[in-house]
């Protein structure tokens, strides 16, 4: 332990503690802008670039950034001398002098770290004027990059490169022209971007935002010729409340259903129902591959990898094109839902698929991209028409004057609204594989599970593993969340070192609860942890907790699909993957080659 003084308060801290953390211990909150520490996910970003957190350290010539300066014994630190306050304000004014002042109409207004910081520091005038950096706006299927608003905190770069190892973004150019951009400053849709949206999730300004589909949804709802149905993903119910001032981890499933109904959706369904369906298909595929593998079939690829996460799918299509036969061919629950809705359900209510609008509420931005994938539709009519994020839904609810917290709890419609606890846990890391195990175990062993909760598969560690005893047959399970962690498991598979039979992969930290479309965590990983716990709480409360026991699932196989992996299933519920590594980035330019 070492002794230091912060703002005349003597405290003791552990060796290696930064001034920022030490100050927090002393109850002093030094403002930060570029710094980000998601403690529970082990992500720390401290480039020391914004210089907002500077403090005065006695004996040092220059001010020191609190985020990166380590405490030394006897250090005397002052966090609010006139020198510090002047420097902090001046730096803030500099940052604002290179930032558009269109806050009133900015997507991030009211939820913007830069805006709150300007308020907190009491900025009333920007003393500097001059050139502002401007860039071409880039709109991709999921993400809008408006880099005029970038303040070079570089959080997105860290998420994209260090955490996700996607490498779509890098700092480019230098000095005043420096900005974070894809290669050749082309649009994201020309890059290896997976649309995981983690860059959006950490962006402190309006530089990175989602493509907003709320207006399309409003228009569809207003169109009398359309039947509009909605599905909502498991992770949404564990986070939406935050947008309305509820504590993180508050489950709002019933209010969510009420709100959607009030918004005017004709049927309010649940993606969870499709998650149960996914388990039937994916679980069966796992058992099938396993059986063939155990029978010595060398052509069968193991481990089987989950395929619910569209960012993960795009990731392996770009980065591991020679391994596209390993993931399960099962579509994601969003797309299974869409396919069933536009066939089975459309027939049922006698509506042409063209007049049936399927909207999904997702914690995710990659889901928007997934909707646009051509193979996930029929004759140019997508199986899911619009995917909006948790944040967009919150906005839609607010726009529609709905007092969310006062809403009564309601239930989903049927037949596509009934689900099990196994489906709910799809929303967090480890959940899909636990749901699959619950079903696969019983299908394989023909015995009832001795216990439903597989605590060995839960948690927030980046890579986890467990061996589950399938009545004498040990099944090795791997779990990774974060594409950087996924990469490690894939490298092992490639090198022939993997001992797993099945691996669950989610692109976002914590799984879908930490998705790029969720309410912003503002660097507080406790939020994600609380959502994680809420998901398991919901599971525990469900009367049915195994997918194969969902009566509406049984019913659809009886009425429509036949059995898992049937020809109809293949057609509607499974998909194919593409090698995207060869796609050359082509420069659009005025110059022409000779």
């Amino acid at each position: 332990m070492i002794k230091i003084t912060i703002d005349h308060k003597p405290i003791e801290v552990e060796k290696g503690t930064t001034v920022l953390k030490a100050a927090q211990q002393a109850g002093i909150h030094i403002p930060t802008l570029c710094y980000m520490h998601l403690e529970d996910l082990n992500i720390e970003h401290k480039p020391g670039g914004c210089r907002i957190c500077v403090v005065e350290v006695k004996g040092r010539k220059n001010l020191a950034p609190a985020c990166a300066t380590e405490c030394l014994d006897g250090m005397e630190i002052n966090t609010h001398t006139i020198r510090v306050l002047n420097a902090r304000k001046t730096v803030m004014e500099l940052i604002l002098s290179d930032h558009p002042t269109d806050c009133l109409v900015c997507a991030k207004s009211g939820n913007c770290d830069l805006q709150s910081m300007a308020h907190q520091l009491g900025i009333r005038k920007i003393h500097f004027e001059g050139e502002q950096s401007t860039y071409r706006e880039d709109t991709s299927p999921s993400i809008i990059r408006d880099m005029d608003k970038c303040i070079m905190c570089r959080r997105c770069e860290t998420m994209c490169n260090n955490f996700q190892t996607v490498g779509a973004l890098s700092a480019v150019n230098r000095g005043f022209m420096a900005v974070v951009a894809p290669a050749f400053e082309q649009n994201l849709d020309h890059s290896v971007c997976t649309y995981c949206g983690q860059c959006v999730a950490v962006c402190p300004t309006g530089a990175l935002t989602e493509v907003d589909h709320t207006n399309s949804v409003i228009r569809a709802l207003a169109d009398p010729t359309k039947t509009v149905i909605v599905q909502t993903a498991p992770a949404v119910r564990a986070a939406l409340g935050e947008e309305f001032g509820l504590e993180a981890g508050t489950l709002v499933t019933g209010k969510l259903v009420s709100a959607l109904r009030q918004l005017g959706f004709d049927y309010v369904f649940d993606t969870d129902w499709a998650a149960d369906l996914t388990i039937m298909e994916e679980g069966t595929e796992l058992l099938d591959r396993l059986a063939r593998h155990l029978n010595g079939d060398k052509t069968v690829a193991l481990p089987i990898l989950t395929s619910c996460c569209p960012a993960w799918v795009k990731f392996f299509e770009h980065q591991f094109p020679d391994m596209i036969d390993i993931p399960s061919s099962a579509r994601s629950p969003q797309q299974m839902f869409g396919a069933i809705a536009k066939t089975y359900f459309a027939d049922k209510i006698k509506v042409d698929r063209k007049n049936l609008v399927v909207v999904s509420i997702m914690p995710c931005l990659a889901k928007k991209y997934e909707c646009s994938r051509e193979e996930l539709g029929h004759d140019g009519n997508p199986d899911v028409d619009f995917s909006i994020s948790t944040r967009e839904l919150a906005n839609l609810i607010k726009q529609s004057n709905i007092d969310f917290t006062a809403l009564p709890d309601q239930d989903f419609d049927n037949p596509l609204g009934e689900s099990t606890g196994a489906a709910v846990i799809f929303g967090t890391t480890g959940g899909v594989i636990e749901a699959a195990v619950r079903t696969a175990y019983e299908l394989h062993t023909k015995k009832k599970l001795p216990k439903i909760d597989f605590h060995e598969l839960r948690g927030l560690d980046g890579i986890r593993q467990a061996t589950i005893d399938f009545d004498g047959l040990p099944i090795n399970i791997g779990i990774a969340h974060g594409l950087g962690n996924a990469r490690k498991l894939l490298e092992d598979i490639k090198a022939g070192k993997s001992k797993f039979h099945a691996i669950e992969i989610m692109a976002c930290p914590g799984g879908c609860i930490g998705g790029g479309g969720q309410p912003l965590h503002h660097g507080n990983s406790k939020v994600i942890k609380a959502r994680h716990e809420a998901i398991y709480k919901e599971d525990a409360l469900k009367p049915i907790r195994k997918s194969h026991e969902n009566p509406y699932i049984t019913k659809i196989y009886e009425e429509f699909l036949g059995k898992p992996m049937s020809e109809k299933s293949h057609h509607l519920l499974h998909t194919i993957y593409f090698d995207r590594s060869k796609k050359n980035v082509i420069i659009s330019d005025e110059h022409q080659a000779d």
């Binding site: 670039g49 220059n62 950034p65 300066t69 001046t90 500099l94 940052i95 500097f128 050139e131 005043f176």
Partner: protein, 597 residues
């Protein structure tokens, strides 16, 4: 072995080479051959003599004759007159501009008289492509000495005792740096030579590498022994092809002699050196940025600690020094710390190389003991101000240094006194300005540079310097206000106080020091909308003096924007609102009627 009666040294530095010194050497050899003197006269392409203003330079020994501005066609005369007949070619001798007298012997030239050459000891003396000539000048003996007689700790002690401080800018004690690196645990360590000399107007490192590469190689090996490293890396600007070439030759020669490589001098110590190239980023002079660049990354600095001595290249303990610092090491080992410490001042020992440039008679590379007075450098060595104009200011330390004025001429040059005076040692650029140089424009010139070279990582440097520059531009346009001057000062201080690395930490110095020393000149721009030096275009006015104008219409006809009107044979007038200040009218007027105010 040949016993030459005379040696002819031809400067092979970049400056002289670009003025055809290769051809001069070639022609000399041919002419000498024709006269049958090949066995008597040796022609050597040496490193830089430092007196670049007068290049290309040819020096003849033993009589120390110093020929300046030599062209390839002068060579026949030099051979026939000087080498054959023993008569000096007078027209090629150096003429002292102040006393207007010819000085033939370089030892008597003011430029050399007050210099003490330690780091440059072999530059312009040996053939840098010959390891034999270097060995004849004791190269690698210091390495032998430390390997045989000294422990690594003793080496660090010796360097500490010598008082040598980093010559790249910050002036950190070299011995201490070595000691820290030597105490960092780990079998894998690195010795890095920073040869990414980026200061515009400073070229001492290049000159040393071109003129005496072995001194740097030897010093790096000594450092390797001291800190326990067996790998050396030289990070050199790709814009220095000659230095790169000579380093490659030197490294190969040293390897062939076994002076680099495995088991040097039959000991357990192995050391080898490879080159890494810079690619045009000034910020890579900062050691953490340099290390990232060597690792194939963008050259962005990172927060220290951890210092490179603890976690540097590939996160291994790394010692980074610049070229000039290393060049001092072998002589310190050979002659002892006391000898070195006998030069200089209390806190700044030894000598410092400066690149003298600007409005000064003797542009070139000089080496003086620390503590030499600024005026001695400018007037005695530099030969005073060019064209007998008035000295106005000297800017020391490269783009991040500050301006010193007449009242600082008595300043004794060392780290502390330069910093106290608002400037800094930097890498040793020294640019002299006369009264036709506008201080606002000069400050802006340096900021243009830092704005371009800022890496963009931290906000004060990325945006702050840009804003400083914009305010200066506003002032140069005559649109500044008094408040702008205060804004400049506050912003400058905040940038210095909050930037991530020393690039931003010092970039406002030119602005702040000119604000301190030339406030009146700023005021003139802001209040009177005048540029006293007559350099700021926007504040200049072209005016036709009616008493001189005969109405010939030449100016009006040549004005590209038709700003000049007037009847024939009557005085003309320039419409200031239209005038673009191109100066065409001045050129065309035969009657001195157009003047600039």
């Amino acid at each position: 072995m040949m016993k030459y009666k005379m040696h002819v040294l031809v400067c092979g530095g970049t400056g002289c080479k670009s003025s055809d010194s290769d051809m001069i050497a070639h022609n000399l050899r041919t002419a000498i051959d024709q006269k049958g003197l090949t066995e008597e006269v040796q022609v050597v392409m040496s490193g830089c003599f430092g007196f670049c203003e007068k290049g290309p330079i040819v020096k003849i020994l033993p009589d120390n004759t110093f020929y300046v501005h030599v062209t390839p066609s002068d060579t026949t005369e030099i051979v026939e007159e000087h080498l054959v007949k023993g008569r000096r070619v007078e027209r090629l001798l150096y003429k002292d501009p102040q006393r207007d007298e010819i000085i033939s012997d370089s030892k008597h030239m003011g430029f050399y008289k007050k210099q003490v050459r330690i780091a440059l000891r072999n530059c312009g003396f040996i053939d840098p492509e010959s390891i034999n000539e270097a060995i004849a000048r004791d190269a690698y003996q210091a390495l032998g000495k430390v390997l045989k007689e000294m422990t690594p700790q003793q080496v660090a002690e010796e360097i500490k005792k010598s008082g040598l401080r980093g010559r790249g800018g910050a002036g950190f004690p070299t011995g201490l740096k070595w000691e820290i690196a030597s105490k960092s645990p780990g079998p894998e360590k690195y010795v890095v030579c920073n040869a990414d000399e980026g200061d515009p107007g400073a070229f001492m490192d290049r000159s040393i590498l071109e003129g005496d590469p072995h001194s740097v190689l030897e010093a790096m090996a000594i450092c390797g022994y001291c800190i326990g490293a067996s790998n050396g890396l030289i990070y050199i600007r790709a814009e220095y092809p000659l230095a790169i070439e000579r380093l490659k030759i030197a490294i190969n020669q040293a390897r062939e002699y076994g002076l680099l490589g495995k088991n040097i001098f039959g000991t357990d110590f192995s050391f080898d050196i490879e080159l890494k190239y810079g690619a045009g980023a000034f910020v890579c002079g900062e050691e953490t940025a340099l290390i990232h660049s060597m690792e194939g990354q963008r050259g962005e600095p990172t927060f220290k600690p951890p210092f490179p001595a603890v976690a540097g290249y590939k996160m291994k303990p790394t010692n980074v020094n610049n070229v000039e610092t290393y060049a001092n090491i072998p002589v310190i080992i050979m002659n002892g710390a006391e000898w070195f410490a006998s030069y200089g001042t209390e806190k700044s020992k030894g000598t410092k190389v400066f690149a003298l440039a600007g409005k000064i008679n003797n542009v070139g590379l000089i080496e003086v003991p620390m503590g030499t007075k600024l005026k001695d450098v400018i007037y005695d060595i530099g030969g005073g101000i060019k064209g007998n104009k008035k000295f106005k200011a000297v800017q020391i330390g490269g783009p991040s240094g500050g301006f010193l004025t007449e009242k600082h001429l008595e300043t004794e040059i060392d780290y502390e006194s330069l910093t106290a005076a608002g400037s800094m040692m930097g890498s040793g650029g020294m640019i002299v300005m006369d009264d036709s140089d506008c201080m606002v424009a000069m400050a802006k010139f340096y900021l243009d540079f830092t704005v371009e070279e800022s890496c963009g990582k931290c906000s004060p440097c990325r945006i702050g310097n840009k804003r400083l520059n914009e305010i200066l531009e506003k002032i140069a346009q005559g649109k500044g206000t008094i408040e702008d001057l205060e804004l400049l000062r506050n912003l400058g201080n905040v940038i210095k106080d909050t930037s991530l690395c020393m690039l931003g930490g010092s970039s406002p110095n030119p602005v702040l020091s000119t604000l301190d020393h030339f406030y009146d000149e700023y005021l003139a721009h802001v209040k009177d909308h005048k540029c006293p030096a007559g350099q700021c275009k926007a504040l200049m006015q072209y005016i036709i003096l009616p008493e001189n104008c005969v109405g010939c219409t030449a100016c009006a006809r040549n004005c590209p924007v038709n700003a000049i009107t007037g009847e024939r044979k009557k005085p003309h007038v320039i419409d200031q609102a239209i005038c673009i200040k191109c100066g065409a009218c001045v050129e065309k007027c035969k009657f001195n009627a157009v003047v600039v105010q």
